[in-house]
Amino acid sequence: MSDLPHPKVAMQSTRILKKRRVAGVPWYFLAPALLAYILVVVYPIVAGGSYAFTDWNGLNPVKTFVGLENFRRLLQDDQALSSLKNTVLITLSVTLVQNTLGLLLALGANSTIRTRFLLRTVLFAPAVISSLVAAYLWQYLYDPNVEGGINALLTDVGLKSLRQDWLGNPQLALFAITGTVVWQYTGYSMVIFLAGLQGVPVELYEAAELDGAGAWQSFWNVTRPMIAPAITVNLMLSVIGGFKLFDQILAMTGGGPGYATSTLSLLMYKQAFVFSRFGYSTATALVLAIIIAGVSLLQLKLLRSQELEG
């Protein structure tokens, strides 16, 4: 017994050992990963970002420094402002509809119905398709001349008067694209909500029921606070996804009719590869990145406070 060290001494020596271990990790262990990160992520961002202050056309080896000229032009560009408006509109509509539907589907798929596993798979399936494939598929469904498209379905069910030129009508086209995005990614939101729902202890619902809570009260006071982290993740992902939406728009409308579905991402692409203005395009990309970062931080702050309250 006397050979054993005093417990206090033993604890101190363990701490010292841990400290030594931590202090002893050579910093250069980080070097390979850090180097790869700098080369693959940091350098391209800085090098790419620097083009925003030049008039580079993508072809000419000479790049002239133009200061903030590209940003000044961006603020006065009608097409950029209209694209920004469309970007905000599509982000809001996708976020709202996709998450509402995703939550409803998650609540349904979390129930005890026998086909719940099949339902989860089926509902998630569109999310694994390439967004371009989904866009071409929906382009076909929206085509007013196709005999098996949405218009044909409306005719078959006696709703002929509701037939539309879905992608050709400037008032509808943006929402038609929203429909495609929502169809594809609602299952994705559902899975995240489902993960949150499965972590809610059953006892909480039993306690709420004993307290006389109805279905809505139970959802609002138990489910909502408990799945708040899932809500945060879903809202963040759909807002970021909405802001950088590109593939579906390029494939379905190319930004038309006119500029009715043009977004900042599409404008960025066109400025670079159609107008040969890589400098201006990079300035647009920087502004978009700043908008996304700003909105995301604000959103994170607001949603995190909800989580704490919950």
């Binding site: 009508n169 038309g256 006119g258 500029y259």
Partner: protein, 362 residues
């Protein structure tokens, strides 16, 4: 090529124009790549020459054969930098079976064209398939009308515009766009043209659901695949009231240039020389269905173009308008403007004002 010069192996790769721009801009250009005539797009001859990306081919023998009428879009500062084997035509591709069953006749004036529209509409078959969801398709109608409405009266319109004494707004362009809108309002097109793309347009005309479609001659073989039994023809789209006014847009197609930074410059130049031989030109024209850039030897001209050839022989042709525009903004203002015109978002005046503004950007 490999059979003629066995030491040269030609490797082909297929990608879109954006990927070519990236390869050139990043200093890794292909030895040979697609180049568009004139100016007005990222991969157009003028833009590439200004950036020092194309090798000078002026010493090759075919350069002497370039006719003066094509010099503005095939040469810069009197030097040649790319070669194209064919010329494309914009006209009304029509389904001869439907045309005959409706007892229609080829129109030579605007009023005859309107009669054709009305007759076809009465028979329940729209006269023209329009796939304006693809903006490049939407532009082809006014491209077909403008030579008759602008260049027949003002042959040097491009020079006047470059000199600042002519504008889109104050020219026959306004009449062309107004007539385009008139065709829409009169029921000359299929329903929902803005929701219809090229693929549907091709199917509509090939299967006889419309009488015709205004398209590029090089796409006729593609249209034919939708119905191999259809007999297709092509006529010039009239825009004016006099048949003598009628002119056709005919212009060099995209061709091939040699990268100034190529490590295989000699071989790449040899490839161009091979492509520019009359036998290669004729073979290429026969396969693509377009007109050969230079005539000579024995070439089987696409019979579809028989309705267009008299205009070509009489010199009643004009280059595609965008090939003379100073930047890509004009083309984009035009593409978006046509869609806005068709959807009622803009008038012809609005569209032309935006095109004039874009032209000033230089």
């Amino acid at each position: 090529m490999h059979a003629e010069v066995p030491t040269i192996k030609v490797e082909m790769s297929f990608g879109d124009d954006a990927s070519t721009v990236v390869r050139i801009g990043s200093g890794n250009p292909p030895d040979l790549f697609r180049v568009f005539p004139g100016n007005g797009s990222a991969l157009s001859m003028v833009q590439l020459v200004n950036a020092g990306r194309l090798a000078d081919l002026s010493d090759q023998s075919w350069v002497k054969r370039i006719p003066p009428s094509l010099t503005p879009v095939l040469k810069v500062n009197n030097k040649a930098y790319f070669f194209t084997p064919t010329q494309a035509v914009i006209g009304a591709v029509y389904n001869k079976q439907v045309f005959e069953s409706l007892k229609l006749t080829v129109p030579h004036t605007w009023s005859q064209l309107m009669t054709l529209c009305d007759t076809a509409k009465k028979a329940g078959v729209p006269a023209f398939a329009l796939g304006a969801k693809d903006s490049w398709v939407g532009q082809l109608i006014d491209y077909a009308l403008v030579p008759s409405l602008v260049y027949s009266n003002t042959p040097d319109f491009d020079k006047l515009q470059a000199g600042g004494t002519a504008t889109f707004s104050s020219s026959g362009w306004k009449e062309a766009l107004n007539k385009y809108k008139m065709m829409l309002d009169r029921g000359c097109f299929n329903e929902n043209p803005l929701g219809t793309g090229f693929e549907q347009q091709a199917k509509l005309v090939a299967t006889g659901k419309t009488v015709a479609a205004v398209q590029l001659s090089l796409l006729v073989p593609r249209i034919q695949t939708d119905n191999p039994t259809a007999t297709l023809g092509m006529f010039a789209l009239p825009g004016g009231d006099r048949a003598s006014q009628l002119r056709v847009p005919v212009a060099p197609s995209s061709g091939i240039g040699v990268s100034a930074q190529s490590k295989n410059l000699t071989e790449a130049r040899l490839f161009i020389a091979f492509m520019a031989q009359q036998t290669s030109i004729n073979r290429y024209a026969e396969l693509s269905g377009d007109l050969p850039i230079f005539s000579g030897g024995s070439v089987k001209i696409n019979p579809l173009l028989s309705g267009i050839l008299p205009f070509v022989r009489a010199g009643k042709v004009n280059l595609f308008m965008d090939q003379s525009w100073p930047n890509a903004d004009v083309q984009q203002a035009h593409l978006a403007g046509v869609q806005q015109l068709l959807s009622g978002q803009a008038s012809a005046t609005d569209v032309l004002k935006k095109m004039d503004d874009a032209y000033q950007k230089r």
